[in-house]
């Protein structure tokens, strides 16, 4: 199970419940709009209350709310534990991430490798963070100026990035590939192009990158 997997599960669960509730209420509404239209000739009810029904309904709602609270808290704890495990792993790859107006700097703690860019519309100007496949990666993020947010949409990974404060995200890349990362907290003039890439490569290639400072 990945961080994205936990998101997918809970999203699907809540989407199904929400969809069911929406369908039930909308169908009820439409059916009774037809049946109770003035032309149908049914007189209006003079009943104004049904306390027993209302209280039992509220209790049922409370039950649903408690179920959702428990399920979502558990999912949140699973994600937090997963990240804590990654951070505590002996082979964790640590990267210091600095956000600034308007790009990113990635500084590896395992070697001299560091990368940054200018983040313009041309993708070649965006920095690429290189990480090894299979090892946990911890991103320790801080900002040089205003509040930014690091977001890798395909991995469901996001955290705000503050000046004078460090937030951390931990994740494992289990296959080779390149992912797009974005700034998702509005940060000024060039916010729309403040993108970067994450590239996961085999361990050997990663070691070469660390030593040379550039991917093979």
């Amino acid at each position: 199970m990945s961080i994205r997997g936990i998101f997918d599960d809970i999203f699907l669960l809540e989407l199904s419940i929400a969809g069911a509730v929406f369908v039930v209420i909308t169908v009820l509404l439409v059916v009774f709009l037809v049946r109770r239209r003035a032309g149908a000739g049914r007189p209006a009810s003079s009943r104004a209350d049904n306390i027993v029904l209302e209280v039992s309904y509220a209790v049922a709602l409370l039950g649903i709310a408690v179920f959702l609270v428990v399920v979502t808290a558990q999912a949140n704890h699973r994600q937090q534990q997963m990240q804590a495990q990654f951070r505590g792993a002996p082979d964790v790859v640590r990267v210091d991430v600095t956000a600034f107006q308007w790009c990113w700097r990635f500084q590896h703690l395992d070697g001299p490798a560091s990368t940054t860019g200018t983040c313009q519309e041309d993708p070649a100007t965006r920095p690429t963070l290189v990480v090894p496949i299979g090892r946990p990666v911890e991103l320790r993020m801080t900002s040089h100026d205003v509040v930014h947010a690091l977001w890798i949409p395909d991995l469901a990974l996001k955290s705000d990035v503050y000046p004078d404060h460090t937030n951390s995200l931990a994740v494992t890349f289990d296959h080779a590939g390149t992912w797009l990362g974005r700034c998702s907290e509005f940060c000024g003039t060039h916010h729309p192009t403040m993108d970067f890439y994450v590239r996961a490569v085999p361990e050997q290639e990663y070691q070469q990158y660390l030593a040379s400072g550039s991917p093979a």
Partner: protein, 556 residues
């Protein structure tokens, strides 16, 4: 029917009541409310036009119709305009107009305070918009204006400073108006109007204005902090002040979401029950749920900060998800009222009915974003943009139009056109859903909010084209509404009777428009024995001694 005929003869108004100076120094709550509502409606059209420019820019990838910074100014003024200057003022000023009438009072408590509220609001609005005239343009840090970005170091220019001052003044004015409405409902009720005989709408304003009093001062503090930081930008190099601002801001800014929602729950309840020809079902449960909802609303603000890494996510998730209980109780009342009704599909009823499923989409996605593991992914994306446009545009805006078509005849003495009203309604339904539904998809596809443009390779193009088409239809619907009002007022062909809809509440017992002190010798205050006094009278006249509604659970 001639253009000059009035529904009922009235004594000539005192000389000078129609002059501009009489309007601008009025102590009549109806005029204070109409000034506020009129200003807010005009500003709705203005900030709506800003949204059209935003949508035009986003229709196709890599477009630069306006510069990035102008785009940022547009979404800032669109968002903060709609929230601080349009929907919140309408939510509060509807109460200024209706609450004294609905509780049978001749006037609002502290009318000069309410009028001062209008002037502060108007002044604040002018100050915010004056940013467009400054060298560096309007404020551009978004409606929540987080520091350090909103500080003078990163956003120089007078526009941002003017925005801070304008928001402070406008919101201060709204607090004053809200306080007078609350005061009226609690202490100025007419004979026979006990607390549990106040209409649902009046109760919704009580809950609303309690939240205003409890939470809006926090925004004043937040704006004070931003102002201090613009003079001393060093302040916002410390995390304490940056995160502290977010807490102060959201302590105001989540309750304000319900301030922009509750009065329209009240409106929809009144309209549904009137056009269903029956009492609102579950009155007591709805009153309790509104008050519980208002109390809980003060404990959920941190769910806007799940991704900060500096909030107690489990706690805020718990309180936020629990809100589905009172919200569900309110929906039960809507549905049960319709289920036992004798339904007449007039224009206000259409808007109220559409509110029910459309706001539901906003509410159900609200539970999703109250879930931290979902919020981490969708916050600051277009999913959130879709979520609150479903609450505010598909929800509150439909409530506003329901209220508009329902009470326009009362306030002006003129009926609006049904046929144009239906065109307005259907265009708005189609436009709203086509504009905002694709945004859920865009958010899940990874489109961040507040993006001045995107690239062809991002895969956002199709949904953005659809959304822009929807916005155009929506705008056409609003235009039809404007035509409806202009023709009604210009030609004055359809004078409104006192009670055009067979209403239940006290405002329908007086003339249209009501006399200066609301009720007079020609329109005395009827006896009040429940929250639907005019329905009681009608039933009493119709079935003298035949059937006591109290046997069916009616409140007496």
């Amino acid at each position: 029917m001639t253009t000059t005929s009035a529904p009922s003869p009235r004594p000539a108004p005192p000389a000078g009541r129609g002059t501009a100076s009489a309007w601008l120094t009025t102590t009549d709550h109806k005029r204070i409310a109409l000034l506020t509502l009129g200003t807010a409606t005009f500003l709705f059209l203005v900030v709506g036009v800003l949204a059209m420019i935003i949508r035009a820019q986003l229709t196709l990838p890599s477009q630069h119709l306006v510069s990035n910074d102008m785009y940022h100014g547009l979404f800032t003024i669109h968002g903060s305009g709609m929230i601080y200057l349009v929907v919140t003022p309408i939510a509060i000023a509807l109460g200024v107009y209706l609450v004294p009438l609905q509780v049978g009072a001749p006037a609002i408590a502290a009318p000069r305070l309410a009028m001062a509220g209008f002037w502060l609001y108007l002044g604040g609005a002018l100050i915010i918009f004056s940013g467009f005239l400054t060298a560096l343009g309007p404020a551009l840090a978004g409606w929540y204006s987080y520091p350090p970005l909103s500080g003078s170091r990163y956003t120089p220019g007078a526009g941002q400073s003017l925005w801070i001052a304008g928001v402070f003044l406008a919101v201060l004015g709204l607090i004053l108006q809200a306080a007078t409405v609350l005061w009226t409902a609690l202490l100025k009720r007419g004979p026979g109007v006990t607390m549990l005989r106040m209409p649902v709408f009046t109760w919704s304003t009580v809950a609303t204005n309690l939240m205003v009093i409890g939470s809006f001062p926090s925004l004043l503090a937040a704006m004070g902090l931003l102002g201090w930081g613009r003079v001393f930008p060093q302040l916002f190099t410390e995390n304490l002040w940056n995160i502290g601002y977010q807490h102060l801001f959201w302590f105001f800014a989540h309750p304000v979401v319900y301030v922009m929602f509750f009065p329209f729950v009240g409106v929809v309840a009144e309209v549904l029950s009137t056009f269903s020809g029956r009492r609102f079902f579950g009155y007591r449960a709805t009153v309790v749920s509104l008050l519980v909802f208002a109390a809980f609303s003060m404990s959920v603000w941190g769910h806007h900060m799940f991704s900060t890494g500096q909030a107690s996510n489990d706690y805020y998730s718990l309180t936020s998800i629990l809100l589905l209980v009172p919200a569900g109780v309110e929906y039960f009342g809507f549905l049960a009222t319709v289920i036992g009704g004798h339904l007449r599909f007039r224009v206000p009823m259409l808007f109220a009915l559409a509110f029910v499923p459309q706001f539901l989409v906003g509410g159900l996605t609200g539970i999703m974003v109250a879930t931290p593991v979902i919020d981490y992914q969708v916050t600051d994306s277009y999913f959130i943009v879709a979520h609150w446009h479903y609450t505010l545009a598909a929800g509150s805006l439909f409530g506003i139009f329901a209220a508009f078509y329902f009470w326009f005849p009362k306030a002006t003495g003129l009926m609006l056109d049904e046929r144009l009203g239906r065109w307005h309604f259907w265009l708005l339904v189609v436009g709203t859903n086509v504009a905002f539904l694709p945004m859920f998809w865009l958010g899940l596809q990874g489109m961040p909010r507040r993006l001045a443009t995107y690239l062809p390779g991002d895969g956002f193009t199709t949904a953005n084209i659809v959304s822009t088409v929807g916005t155009a239809v929506l705008a056409l619907g609003v235009l039809v509404g404007v035509v409806n009002v202009v023709t009604a007022v210009r030609y004055r062909r359809r004078p409104a009777p006192d009670d055009p809809w067979e209403g239940f509440t006290l405002e329908w017992a007086t003339s249209s428009p009501p006399p200066p002190l609301n009720f007079d010798d020609d329109h005395p205050l009827p006896p009040v024995r429940s929250f639907a006094p005019l329905l009681d009278e009608r039933e009493h006249a119709g079935q003298e001694g035949a059937d006591d509604p109290a046997e069916h659970g009616a409140l007496r």
